[in-house]
Assembly symmetry: C2
Homo-oligomer: 266 residues x 2
């Protein structure tokens, strides 16, 4: 285990912390963050202990705790109790980043059209990139996921489960991308489709066409990936997304029409 970091150039840092005013914890958090960067700390490294931070930064325990809570909320550190415990640098997980980003879009009302415009622009590109280097094991995983919804659903519950499974097919696809930005964005779009209330309502309605066409396209996609054929993969995904967009928009219109009377928007 690496030794705890010894903090240098404390005086410079202390000057940046307001003497008694507002937002002291945030300022302390920023200071600690700068140290992390300056010292090139990487995930797994430990920060100085609480009492040491208190002494070095010249702030109280409560303030240090709030500052660490700020960093913890950003998923930059995690703390452990006990001997050898303390705050440890962590790599910000995609899940955490997704949750924080979703907050931003909570009050803006995202439409299904918005999401599909993005998917149409990105997912064909994603699979085209993937085709040349995708591993056989990854293709196998896609096949396995697909098998969860090749048979028609027997109930409303199964209907919903299949929709989610279909979305997770695309989430897995996104996870295979070598472009972190592209992969994250596509996965985020799928997560929005999984969680938006409008979508949840749609998933409660039977929709044989979407399922059948979806399966058909995905069979073609797997075929194209197996053949390492980027152009075909791209074309298949483009058609897939366009079809899904058309059907989802039609269903959105139906659902919102049925619920107009109890719309919460004033």
């Amino acid at each position: 285990m690496k030794p705890p970091v010894t903090i240098q150039s404390i005086d410079d840092a202390r000057k940046r912390i307001p003497s008694r005013g507002r937002n002291r914890p945030q300022a302390v958090a920023e200071t600690i963050k700068e140290w992390i960067i300056e010292h090139g700390l990487t995930p797994g490294d430990r920060l100085p202990q609480e009492h040491q931070l208190i002494a070095d930064l010249g702030v109280s325990k409560g303030t240090v705790r709030e500052a660490l809570k700020v960093l913890e909320t950003q998923d930059l550190v995690r703390t452990r109790t006990g001997p050898g415990g303390g705050a440890f640098i962590t790599e910000v997980s995609a899940d955490h980043a997704t949750a924080l980003l979703a907050n931003h879009f909570f009050f803006k009302d995202i439409s299904i059209a918005d999401i599909y415009e993005m998917r149409i622009a990105l997912e064909p590109q994603l699979v085209a990139d993937l085709a040349p280097y995708i591993a056989d094991g990854q293709i196998e995983e896609l096949r396995a996921r697909m098998s969860a919804y090749t048979a028609p659903p027997a109930s409303i519950e199964e209907e919903k489960e299949q929709r989610v499974a279909e979305l997770e097919f695309h989430e897995a696809l996104a996870g295979f991308s070598e472009n972190p930005l592209l992969g994250f964005t596509c996965a985020f779009l799928v997560r929005l489709l999984k969680e938006l209330t409008v979508c949840k309502k749609i998933y409660e309605q039977p929709n044989p066409e979407l399922r059948e066409r979806g399966v058909s396209y995905q069979v073609q996609l797997i075929e194209a990936l197996r053949a390492r054929d980027a152009d075909t993969a791209r074309a298949v995904l483009q058609a897939h997304m366009r079809t899904a967009q058309r059907i989802m928009l039609a269903q959105e219109a139906q659902v919102t029409k049925g619920f107009l009377s109890i719309s919460k928007k004033t």
Copy 2:
């Protein structure tokens, strides 16, 4: 001003908070968040006061403060002192969401190729959407921004300033989008280009070709937007992005070659 929220069903909430164990502040934060959603609080609404939260939730002041700090870090609330003060719901700003998202990509090394792959897929679509309804005032803003780099730079400093101004042209463009997802993503990509260290090094080198071609494309874009011509706007942006990608990748190769010896990656 709306009256402060009175908290109901406290007992249910209290049960979810661990009695003495770890992560009490997070649990309290989650509880408050659920209240916000359950009561349909919107930006501007006030949360109960600190002392009331302490009483209602049965936790200490420090714990409540840490919980509020968690929400504050997520940009969900902001607090004010004084009479009538307290914690107020806020709309999570794009800036804040951007900063939190950037944390996730900090340890993953994003390449210029990754960014431009996304820009090529998204920005042409963005301007095509924009063309039919963009306001004359917005076109005027673009023109004004462009004027900051129509003349060749006289120094390295001016070189960098012009690069940033050019990127902010695209940031403004993204801000005009009616698709929040598309707008946010494009703006985020531009912000990455502004802040990545590799890019900063590139901007220190003179690059007349990128500037001249950029201005030329942007003149064409403004022309197309003025004519409300979506197809031309899309085509121009596509060419613009492809050219920029080619030049940036070439410069990236040069810069990294020059700095290979002091690369920090082990």
